[in-house]
């Protein structure tokens, strides 16, 4: 098979078809040839035997009444059959009774036989046919015939070889034409994969034309391309995020550092001037800046942990998560005087309990912080079915978000309103947790002043509805 390694699939199919065809045609025709050869000889013997029987029949009276001349006359009539070279009649005692030799043919010395028999000698057939009348053996007729059997067999062979050649040519034409059905889609796929790898464009999709194994190959190829494409896109966005991350981290860490440096310079002067009160104020500002840095670094650490540290997933009633989160942000809710409404009919979800709680903690905290001038701040937590999945939501009646910024809110350090406290990491953390749970998160808000709804899904087959007690 080493030789076949470089042969194209097209030629391989043609080769396979031709091999099968030549094997079957060759075998079939060979059998036919053997059969025909036997048949040709058989039919020659039969025809000769028939002639001999008829001639012998006419010799019956000649033998009975002992008229060799008469037998000779009958044998003379054999000259109407030019292929008969010699014809001899022997009487019942195997003595030569009458003979015929075709003009130009020499008499042959041949043993008389009493029973029917024949023998081929090249192109010549020797045939003995006994002559019977009413059950009595009267004698034997011997014929020597030029049969042209070799030529007949050779002609048959030539015809057979021509037929075989013709059939093979026909098979070749058919194979070359019909192999496209198999090789076409494969060659197309090969061509496409070459193009994709040379251009690096993974947006190509193969167009399937059949439902066979090649069709499956197309489907798998396409889904592989889907995966590659989405991974590439993901990689690109991750890269961009990482760049932004580096930039924002260095930028956001820089500002408290600048604050610290500035106040240190002031502190130096004030130390020289001996202004202790002012020094105390400056020191507290430096400490506040250091705290900000600390908080920033803590949250960044937390964010980086999400993807790596995952607790064993478990079934958690969504209601429990909301209650836990509510307890943790109680202070903020009281501070902002926010009323929290929790829907009664909430399902059980499956995931990392602590992380899922963090989602709600951050979302509640975020909503409470963004209440603006709302006189009756309120947050609703609940779920709604949407097609096959369940969408959880945290809805507030706060300042709202312009649709233009709906995607930005989840970015790291992307605070839309710099006046609001917080690091800008909270929503990024939420997004990461949802994504780790293979869910989606998005914002629904009609604009500024119209409140905000954060929606997310935590897909899992184990999500069940339970009735609140």
């Amino acid at each position: 098979m080493g030789l076949l390694r470089k042969v194209s699939i097209k030629n391989k199919i043609v080769m396979v078809v031709l091999s099968v065809c030549s094997l079957t045609i060759g075998l079939g025709l060979s059998l036919d040839f053997i059969y025909s050869t036997i048949n040709i000889k058989k039919s020659i013997v039969n025809n000769t035997s028939m002639s001999a029987k008829l001639t012998g029949e006419y010799c019956i009276t000649a033998l009975s009444f002992n008229y060799p001349d008469r037998a000779g006359e009958i044998l003379e009539k054999l000259n109407s059959m030019p292929q008969i070279l010699n014809g001899y009649v022997y009487d019942e005692s195997s003595n030569l009774f009458a003979s015929y030799n075709k003009a130009g043919e020499n008499p042959v010395e041949i043993p008389a036989k009493k029973e029917a028999s024949h023998r081929f000698e090249g192109d010549y057939l020797h045939l003995w046919e006994p002559i019977f009348f009413r059950g009595k053996h009267l004698g034997t007729l011997y014929l020597r015939v030029y049969t042209q059997v070799t030529e007949k067999i050779r002609n048959h062979f030539i015809i057979m070889v021509s037929v075989m050649f013709g059939l093979l040519v026909l098979s070749y034409v058919f194979a070359v034409t019909l192999q496209r059905i198999i090789s076409g889609p494969i060659l197309k796929l090969a061509q496409m994969s070459r193009e994709i790898s040379s251009k690096g464009d993974y947006s190509f999709r193969a167009q399937k034309k059949s439902e066979d194994e090649v069709g499956v190959l197309y489907d798998e190829f396409n889904s592989m391309l889907d995966v590659i494409q989405s991974r590439e896109e993901e990689l690109e966005s991750k890269n961009a995020e990482l760049e932004r991350f580096t930039y924002t981290v260095s930028h956001d860490l820089k500002s408290p550092l600048i604050t610290i440096k500035g106040f240190l310079g002031l502190l130096e002067k004030e130390a020289a001037g001996g202004n202790v009160d002012q020094m105390k104020k400056d020191i507290s500002r430096i400490a506040a800046a250091a705290d900000t840095m600390q908080e920033l670094l803590d949250e960044l650490l937390e964010l980086s942990r999400i993807g790596r540290l995952i607790n064993t997933p478990e079934e958690v009633p969504f209601k429990d998560l909301v209650d836990d989160a509510k307890r943790l942000v109680e202070g903020r809710l009281i501070e902002k005087n926010v009323r929290l409404e929790i829907e009664s009919d909430l399902p059980v979800i499956f995931g990392d309990r602590n992380r899922l709680r963090e989602i709600l903690e951050n979302l509640l905290d975020n909503s409470a912080k963004n209440m603006g001038e709302q006189s009756r701040p309120c947050i609703k937590v609940g779920s709604r079915p949407d097609g096959k999945e369940i969408v959880f939501y945290v809805q507030d009646n706060g300042i709202g978000i312009d649709p233009e910024y709906h995607d930005q809110v989840f970015g790291l350090f992307d605070k839309l309103d710099q006046s609001i406290e917080g690091t800008g990491v909270g929503l990024a953390i939420v997004k990461r947790i949802v994504e780790v749970h293979k869910g989606r998160i998005w914002v629904e808000s009609e604009g500024e002043g119209k409140g905000t709804t954060f929606c997310f899904t935590i897909p899992d087959q184990r999500i069940k509805k339970i009735k609140e007690v």
């Binding site: 006419y58 009276t61 002992n66 008229y67 008469r70 009348f133 009413r134």
Partner: protein, 184 residues
């Protein structure tokens, strides 16, 4: 007379080639011509079928050859009847002189001595399955079935009146008719 000698020689030659009969028969002192004619009579029966429903079709009864007139066979016919079977039956030879004695028989050999009474004899066997055989010129033309004659070469041959054979109810094999000289 000279002609007769010639004929006899030819018959002897034919006989020697033929080897038809047993050595005892061949060596007997009987006339070779009539030995051959006896043999031919037996051969004729091989190519002729007698109707099966006649009074003569009983297989247990002998096959009857009657010779009317002076017997020319001089015992050779008798010898044939003793050594041969015809149609698987014993052979009986009868020597008769009057037409009244003819029936029943299968073959009637008309001796040359009855040449003059041929019309009467033939009338007696007319439309009966009796094969009439003789050996003088004109027998077949007169209505006899088979007549022996000698060819110019001196070979014994016979002529057949096919129409009369058919009229008699006998069935003669085509091969026999084909080889004979046909008389109408």
């Amino acid at each position: 007379m000279l002609e007769l000698v010639f004929k006899k020689r030819a018959v002897i030659i034919s006989l020697s080639i033929l080897c038809l009969w047993s050595t005892a028969f061949a060596q007997s002192a009987k006339s070779p011509e009539y030995m051959l004619k006896s043999a031919f009579l037996e051969k004729f029966t091989q190519f002729t079928d007698w109707p099966e429903n006649s009074e003569l079709s009983d297989i247990s009864q002998p096959f009857v050859i009657s010779v009317i007139g002076e017997n020319p066979f001089k015992g050779s016919l008798k010898q044939m009847s003793q050594t041969r079977k015809i149609k698987n039956r014993k052979v009986e030879i009868r020597y008769i002189s009057s037409t009244k004695e003819i029936s029943p028989c299968h073959i009637l050999f008309v001796s040359a001595s009855k040449k003059d009474q041929v019309p009467a004899i033939l009338l007696a066997v007319k439309n009966k399955p009796i094969l009439t055989v003789s050996e003088f010129k004109g027998f077949a033309e007169k209505g006899g079935h088979i007549n022996f004659y000698f060819t110019k070469k001196g070979t014994l041959h016979f002529e057949i009146n096919e129409a009369m054979v058919r009229a008699s109810g006998l069935r003669m094999h085509l091969l026999l008719i084909e080889i004979a000289k046909i008389v109408k």
